[in-house]
């Protein structure tokens, strides 16, 4: 009797899901069940196979083996349309929204038969408004997506799923880009959804969130399901061990000894880039031997600040001094010449050239000077020696300097970039999302290198959307919102919630 009841309660069953990409097994025979009104957390570090698994469930990928059942019916593989029709909705980590179309258009997309005229917008708008009210997802249906904040875009993503009457909601790292307050609001929405009988799969690598929202935790490691525990029967410590297979040693920087100001911005403004704000009269001091952490919701001007320090953008107003001298003719090349080492946000698109070898990538910033070239003639042997040194010193795992860099893992790619930047002996280091998407070993390595650079006297600016990372590494913290910069907060002087208020743009009026 109870067995039968349980079976009816099961809304989703995955059995023996296996997915290989070339030699890599991303998912290895994974099976689990989801019950009605349940929130399960899928926990695992980057590269553990969480997103792949959910992409199989949602039909973006086809599994090599195994099957998916939704409400007792097998789900045809490789068809997001079928998953949607069966009541599975997914909120992707990278939002799947068309920027120059309205909220309503994005929600309506694909919901009606293609071959007919007219859109039934009136009824749709009423339904969206009702859902928005019921679930606390306020957003203007006629606004263009491009004009919305990250938090609002996520609400649209959830509305998209609810509009299609999703009964199972998959959320892939939904809190990665939110303020602590927005995260709380999201959890409130999710609790309302569960109360209405929805089931939720919550993908995350943040232990405290997993503990707070889920009733059951599945832990993935290297593509395998290594643990399945009830949330109230475990704790963060045990989950961390399951996730990484060893105890997590958080990097703990020693006390900093700040020196002179190496980079000073006084009242600097830069133009907006499309929908993203530029800098708005920013004052910033970066001191030798200090890590300045920049917190903030993505798209609030961090990109503009990174572009400024990288040399991609010049100030339209205000002054920029590097090591006490005013900069002129600002460009990426002059930025490097002024001793700024730049770790870009996107190592695939900006940091490296995929089809180039490690050697060619290692000399991207210094190729025009000896020992890599002489009067316009490349010296490939010099370049190769340099690359071999980087590979050795920074522990880049690769077949050799002639390997195309696209064949490397994210962590090894990042190590090569670190080598390229650090070997040039920078006095100022811009680290923009330096550990995003890396596995825990690489994260620790990169963070330790940044701390070592600080201890060696470099001024480090760490930009991260991950508030925990900013809190862990920074000697001082600034918060950015709509291109404005908060006052400097010393380490330990602010709680995450207090910083969240600034991230939401709310302290600035008082400060002004």
């Amino acid at each position: 009797m109870t067995n039968k009841r349980e079976a009816q309660d099961t809304v989703l069953r995955l059995s023996g899901i296996t997915k290989r990409f070339g030699a890599l097994t991303a998912n290895d025979a994974i099976s689990f069940e989801l019950k009605r009104g349940e929130v399960i957390a899928l926990l695992g570090e980057n590269g553990a196979g969480k997103t792949t698994l959910m992409n199989i469930l949602f039909g973006h990928y086809t599994a090599d083996e195994g099957r998916v059942e939704v409400f007792g019916q097998p789900l045809p593989p490789g068809a997001p349309g079928a998953a949607l029709a069966a009541g599975v909705g997914m909120v992707h980590q990278h939002f799947t929204l068309a920027d120059n179309m309205s909220v309503l258009d994005n929600i309506l997309l694909g919901t009606e038969p293609l071959w007919r005229l007219g859109m039934g917008r009136g009824a749709a708008r009423r339904k969206v408004e009702t859902l928005a009210r019921d679930f606390g997802l306020v957003v203007d249906p006629d606004a263009k997506i491009g004009a919305l904040s990250v938090g609002e875009r996520q609400r649209v993503e959830i509305l998209k799923a609810l509009y299609r009457d999703a009964r199972i909601l998959i959320l892939d790292e939904p809190t990665a880009v939110l303020t602590p307050q927005e995260t709380d609001a999201l959890f409130e929405t999710l609790r309302k959804a569960v109360a209405q009988g929805l089931s939720i799969i919550f993908i995350s690598h943040k232990l405290h969130e997993v503990m707070s929202i889920s009733s059951r935790v599945l832990v993935l490691r290297h593509g395998r399901l290594v643990g399945e525990v009830k949330t109230d029967e475990t704790d963060r410590h045990r989950l961390a061990e399951l996730m990484v297979g060893a105890e997590i040693k958080a990097v703990a920087p020693s006390e900093a000894t700040p020196g002179e100001v190496l980079l000073r911005l006084s009242g600097v403004s830069t133009p907006a880039q499309g929908n993203r704000p530029g800098l708005n009269s920013v004052d910033l001091d970066l001191r030798a031997g200090q890590i300045t952490g920049l917190a903030g919701v993505s798209g609030n001007g961090q990109g503009a600040l990174a572009d400024l320090l990288s040399g991609l953008e010049a100030p339209t107003e205000g002054e920029m001094d590097v090591a006490g001298t005013r900069v002129r003719g600002w460009s990426p090349r002059t930025a490097v010449a002024h001793g700024i080492g730049r770790i870009p946000e996107d190592r695939h698109r900006t940091g490296t050239i995929a089809e180039f070898t490690l050697t060619e990538n290692a000399v991207l910033e210094g190729y025009m000077k000896p020992p890599f070239s002489n009067r316009g003639w490349m010296d490939w042997s010099g370049a190769e020696r340099h690359t071999a040194e980087i590979i050795d010193k920074y522990d880049v795992r690769c077949p050799g300097p002639d390997t195309r860099i696209r064949l490397l893992s994210g962590g090894n790619m990042q190590k090569l970039i670190l080598g390229r930047v650090f070997e040039a002996g920078p006095s100022i280091i811009l680290a923009n999302q330096p550990v995003r998407g890396l596995d825990i070993g690489a994260v620790t390595y990169v963070q330790e290198q940044l701390i070592a650079a600080r201890d060696a006297g470099a001024a480090v600016l760490l930009i991260s959307e991950d508030l925990d990372e900013v809190l862990a590494l920074s000697d001082v913290i600034r918060v950015m919102s709509e291109g404005r910069l908060s006052p400097e907060f010393a380490r330990g002087s602010m709680t995450p919630a207090e910083l969240g208020v600034w991230m939401a743009g709310q302290g600035f009026e008082d400060a002004a």
């Binding site: 990409f21 992409n55 973006h60 990928y61 068809a79 997001p80 349309g81 079928a82 998953a83 949607l84 029709a85 997914m90 992707h92 990278h94 799947t96 929204l97 068309a98 920027d99 120059n100 179309m101 258009d105 994005n106 309506l108 997309l109 694909g110 919901t111 009606e112 038969p113 293609l114 071959w115 007919r116 005229l117 007219g118 859109m119 998209k160």
Partner: protein, 315 residues
Amino acid sequence: MAEIIDILLSASFWAAAVRIASPLIFATLGEMICERAGILNLGIEGIMVLGAFAGWMAVYSGAGLWTGVAVAMGAGMLFGLLHATLTVPFGLSQHVVGLGITLLATSVTYYAYRLALPEVTSPPRIEPFQPLEIPLLSEIPILGQALFAQTPLTYLAFVLAGVTWVVLYRSPLGLALRAVGENPGAVEAQGLSVTGLRMGAVIVGSGFMAVGGAFLTMSAFSSFFFEMVNGRGWICIALVVFGAWKPGKAVLGALLFAAFDALQIRLQQTGLGAEIPYQVFLMIPYVLSILALVLMSRRAEVPAALMVPYNRGER
């Protein structure tokens, strides 16, 4: 100056402008549909050549005029299918494939022409579409003759522009088409097929281009010459940009462009034509196209995913 005003006030001038605009409207709409879905179709020039030949040849072989139009469209769609297969699922360079399609379609056309008519020195003529005067409307001064005394194929061009607008902005299909050129990921996440939408757009768009070519042999002239398309396809690509990827503006752009073209043809016969070499007049359309591109460059609302191939589940 007085000569120009005389020309601008004559009904025949405006009738010529609308006639010259018609093939451009077909092909520009076709290219616009492709680009709205995210695919640049540089096969346009060759597909127009092919359409011009296929429609004309069908009629010359005894088919009806409308059957000829259908044959041209079918031929265009076939090459559209080839283009779409290479650029959508395989994601090959749209530049290279497009130019390759133009070369292939052109050479296949010339080959077929030589096979079909090995002996002739001057191409045979067909009985083309005749002007169809719409009662009452065609009697409006100037405008009437310009707009309502054209061949059925011209009317079709304007109807097609209207239909394209309605589909694009007032139907779920159009919403999906616009979205797939902006963010294919969004389309796939909503359960629609990126490949299907993009391939469909390229195939239909190529069909439109071919009808544009067929207009030349079946409505504007009555026989097929080599070099008769003469860069019109490339001009249409400029017109898509000039029309900001919108059907209404594209039609206006084509009309404006055609008016300049009609004007230069007439100016050649005036006193000006005696003083200035005719080649200068012939350059005007091409120069205008470049100017249009330069003018629109700052305001262009390019579909965000134009020329970005979509590989499902790319990691």
